[in-house]
Every structure is written in C-alpha cells, then in structure tokens.
C-alpha cells in the first residue's frame, strides 16, 4: 500500500515535471512575445503621438468639444489618450498572441473574438469622434445663425442640436459595437419620437398663440423693423 502511494506520488511528480518542462519553453516564448510586444506597442504609441501632433489632432478635438469633456473628467489630452489607447490595444494583442502559444484550447475562442472585435472598436471610435465633431459644428452654426437673427432661445436651440446629434452618434456607436443593440435601437427610437411628438404638440397646441403672434410679427412688421433696425453696411 505504502509502495503504491509512493509510486503514484512519484508518477504525479514526474508528470508535473514533464508537464512543466513541456510548458516552460512555451511560457518563455509567451513572455518574450509579451516583452517584444511591449516594445512594439511603445514604439507605436510614440509614432501615434507624433502623427497626432503633426496633424494638429488636438485642434480638431477642441473643435469637436472632446477636449472640454476630457478636461471636465480630469483626463489627459485627446492626443495622449489616443496614443495610450494604441499602446494598450497593441500590447494586449501581443499578450493574447503569446497566450495562444500556450495552446490552452478554452482561451483560443476568446482570443480570436478579441481580434475580431478590434476593427469594430476602431470604427466605433471614429464614428464617436466625427459624431462629436459634427455635433459641435452644427450646434455652433445654429447658435450663430440664431443670434444673428435675434432668436431668443439661441442657446437652447444650439444645445438641443448638440444633444440630438450626440445621441444619434452614440446609438450608431453602440450598434457597431453590438452592445445592447436592440435596447439602444428601441431607446433611441422612443426618445427621438417622443421629442418630435412633444415639439409638435407644444408648437401646435400649447404654443398656438405664440406661433400666431410669431408669424404675424414676422409677416406684418418685418419690413418696418428692417427699415428701422438695419443700416446698409456697404
């Protein structure tokens, strides 16, 4: 009995040693891949930072209103944030590549899913950035146009446009990422429909008199105001 136990233990230790000896080179390969990956990711980060600085990405980000958001959240600049993102995506990619060398079958599927997810993540980020840029541009354009025609709720109009475009961009981002796709679609459809319906009701029923007054003022007194309010600039 004692001999059997000793034999089994010896066998188990041998198996463990063999298994370790079998995995050790793979582990070393994984560590080498992770280390080389870190260096490549670091180089990519430096490269991305230089390209973003050369292309004056920070100005674009400022125009999009992203810089303001990041400052409020006490986060680094958009250039730094994006270059860090490049670093982490590249390094995590290399680490997962290294893990796949270990040959653990259960992890293989998750690793391939991660690599398939990367292009979608990139597209989502691009959509988010240009969405914010469009929201900022159109809200400012609306604000300027409204102020220059003396529209009373210029800021409200501008903020509404910014929110609508941002929500639209966000819903597209979630759709691309495949996160809560149906929930987002329903939420967006409901919110958008509700806003439009409430506006229509507010203007058609609640603001009937205001609308009449507004139209009368525009049509009847526009000429008088024009003569009294403006001088020929040229």
């Amino acid at each position: 009995m004692r001999e059997i136990i000793i034999t089994e233990l010896t066998q188990a230790l041998h198996d463990l040693g063999r298994g370790f000896a079998h995995y050790l080179p793979r582990l070393i390969v994984m560590l080498i891949i992770a280390f080389v990956g870190w260096m490549i990711a670091y180089l990519l980060k430096v490269l991305a930072r230089s390209i973003l600085r050369l292309t004056k990405f920070s100005k674009l980000s400022e125009n999009a209103g992203a810089t303001q958001l990041l400052n409020q959240a006490a986060l680094p600049s958009s250039t730094e944030l994006l270059s860090r993102f490049v670093f982490w995506v590249a390094w995590v990619g290399f680490i997962l590549l290294g893990v796949s060398v270990l040959g653990i079958v259960a992890l293989q599927e998750y690793i391939s899913q991660f690599f398939l997810f990367l292009p979608r993540l990139f597209v989502a980020l691009v959509i988010l950035f240009f969405g914010l840029l469009a929201a900022s541009f159109f809200s400012r354009a609306a604000l300027l146009a409204a102020v220059n025609v003396n529209f009373r709720s210029s800021r409200l109009l501008s903020i509404s446009i910014r929110i609508i475009i941002s929500i639209f961009a966000l819903s597209m981002v979630f759709e691309v990422l495949g996160v809560a796709k149906e929930t987002m679609l329903i939420a967006f459809g409901t919110a958008f429909g509700a806003i439009m319906l409430s506006l229509a009701i507010a203007f058609g029923i609640g603001g009937k008199d205001v609308a009449r007054e507004f139209l009368e003022k525009r049509l009847v007194t526009a000429k008088k105001e024009e003569k009294e309010g403006e001088l020929s600039p040229l």
Binding site: L144, V147, N150, S154, E230, L231, S232, L234
Partner: protein, 352 residues
Amino acid sequence: MPMVGASIDDVWSVSKVYALRTLHSISTRYASSPEPGTALRTILAAADLLRAKACVVISPDSTTIEPDWLQRLVRPVYNDNFDLVSPIYRRQMFEGVLVRNLLYPMTRAIYGYRVREPYASEFAISGRLASDFLIKEPWNDERTKAGTEICLTIAAITGNYRVCQSFLGPKARPDRSASDLVAAMRRTVGPLFSSLDSNFPFWSTITGSQPVPTVGAQSEVMLEPVRVNRKRLREMFATGVVQLEPVFRSILSASTLSELQRIATLEVSEFNYPADLWAKTVFEFAASYHKSVISRDHIVQALVPLYRGKTLTLLLENRDGFEEDIEKNVESLCGDFERLKPYLLEIWADRK
C-alpha cells in the same frame, strides 16, 4: 476704346443713347444668376480678349449712375496710366458703416494705402492689371468667388500697381434686410482676413499709411436723418455677447471679452464701444481666422453682433454731428487701427 460692363444688356441699352460710333460688345448669358466673382472673371476675360487698355465695371445695383461716372472712372486709366480707379461716393451719414468702421481702417492700417472704398461696386482697371489678376487669382477659391472686388483692390496694392480714387456722386441705397449683414460680412471681411495669410511678407513690414491720389472730393456726407431702432441694436449686441460667450472665448483674449461683457450691461444712453477696443477686437478676430481656431466662416459670423455694437456707438457719437465730426471720427478710428498694428503682429505669431 473697348468698354466692358457688369450687366452687358443694360449697359448696351444705355450706351446706345450716347453712342456716336459703332459699339462692339462681347456678351454672354449665364445658366443661372452667377456669383459676383464668376461674373467679374468673365468680364476680365473679355477685356483680356479685346486687349482693352481700360475696363470699367458698373454694379447692376447702381441706380444713381450718371453718364459722367464712366468718364471719371476711365480717364485716370486712359490718360494718366493708373491701374485701378477706386470710387468715392457721397453717402448718407450712417450708410456704408461696415466700410467706414472696418474695411477702410483695416485695409489702410494693414496695406498702408488710404483707399476709401476697398470693396468697390464701380471701378476701372487697366488691361495689364486685369490680365495679371485673371492669371494670379485662385478663382476656384470660395472667398475669391464671393469677394472679388476687395481681392482686386488688395491685389492692386500688393502688386505695386498705380492706384487712385475718383469722386463719382451719390451712392444708391441698397434695400437690405437683416440677413444681408451676414452675407456682406462673408463677402468682405472673410476675403480681407484671408488675404492676410498670403500677403504676410508684404503687410508685416508696413507702418503707417500714405494717401492715394484722388480726383475730386475726398469724401462727402449727406446729413439726412435716419430712423434706426437703437434699443434693438443694443439688445442684439448684448444678446450676442452673452449667447456667444463660448465662441468668443476661443477667439478673443480674456481682457477684450471682459470689456465687451461690461459694455453689454450698459443702457443705450451710456453705451460706448471705444474705437481702440473695436480695433483690438477686429485684430483678434483676424488672428483667430489665421489660426483657424474654429471654422473660419463661424469666426466671420461671430463678428456680426459686435459690429452692431460698433454701429450703435457710431449712431450715438454722431447724432448731432456735422460732416467734419464724422470725418474726424473716421480718421481717429483709422489712427487706432494703425497704432494697434504691432498688437496684431504680436498675436499673429503667438502659437496659442
């Protein structure tokens, strides 16, 4: 003498009355109403084709034109070898406010020439300037298409062509609505700001300004009373300053913005937008336009409410004014623009 007009059909019908000899014309029809730049390009191309010694352009809006205007415009080119004859008009006291408060003082301070009407609707140019302008100007550029008139004046100055002015007579009052102010800004202020980029080596070394040879009166003002809603102007200025604060924060310096915010709280009776602050504001807008801190078109539009504030100050300053006082105020404003030009150079180079 070949003569080319802006609206060939109209000039042809008018010209027939005075024609003693055969008149030759090149006429063309546009598919739709063309941009002023496109129309002017066609006119200059026709002048170039005819190898014209002089080319006169008359605005189709000009309802006060007299036959001797053509003579006054063309003679300096034809007899005295000038390349650009810019007009001087007799204006109503409060008309042409943008020209008097921004275009003239800024062009004068930047380019060093006292051209009273940098955005001329009637003018004459020599054949060589027409050909040169036709070749050098980037005609596909949106700013050139919209503000060719001011681009032409600047091209004549920066190209060292001989520029003079000729007094014509009363300027017709265009019937403009409020929205036209933004369009007018785009046609004039946009191209003026834009010209600073390409002409930096030329204007950065210029200090002061020199008079331009002038035929006839230097300026004439009609002192007719005009009804203007001052309260509305103040309200539009104050609303603009409050509502556009986030936009102004990226264009103006903190000191200028706080000063504007203080002015926005003043009532009409005590309202005053000082000339030096106006000059500083315009220069900060020009520098921001150069750096494209936001969309360039948005920068030009953001100037509109501030211009209304300056207009109100002009109305209040000159409500009992005489012609001499108005002229003195314009001169003083030009002096401020010239004095603050080093400030423009300073903020122009500033990378922030």
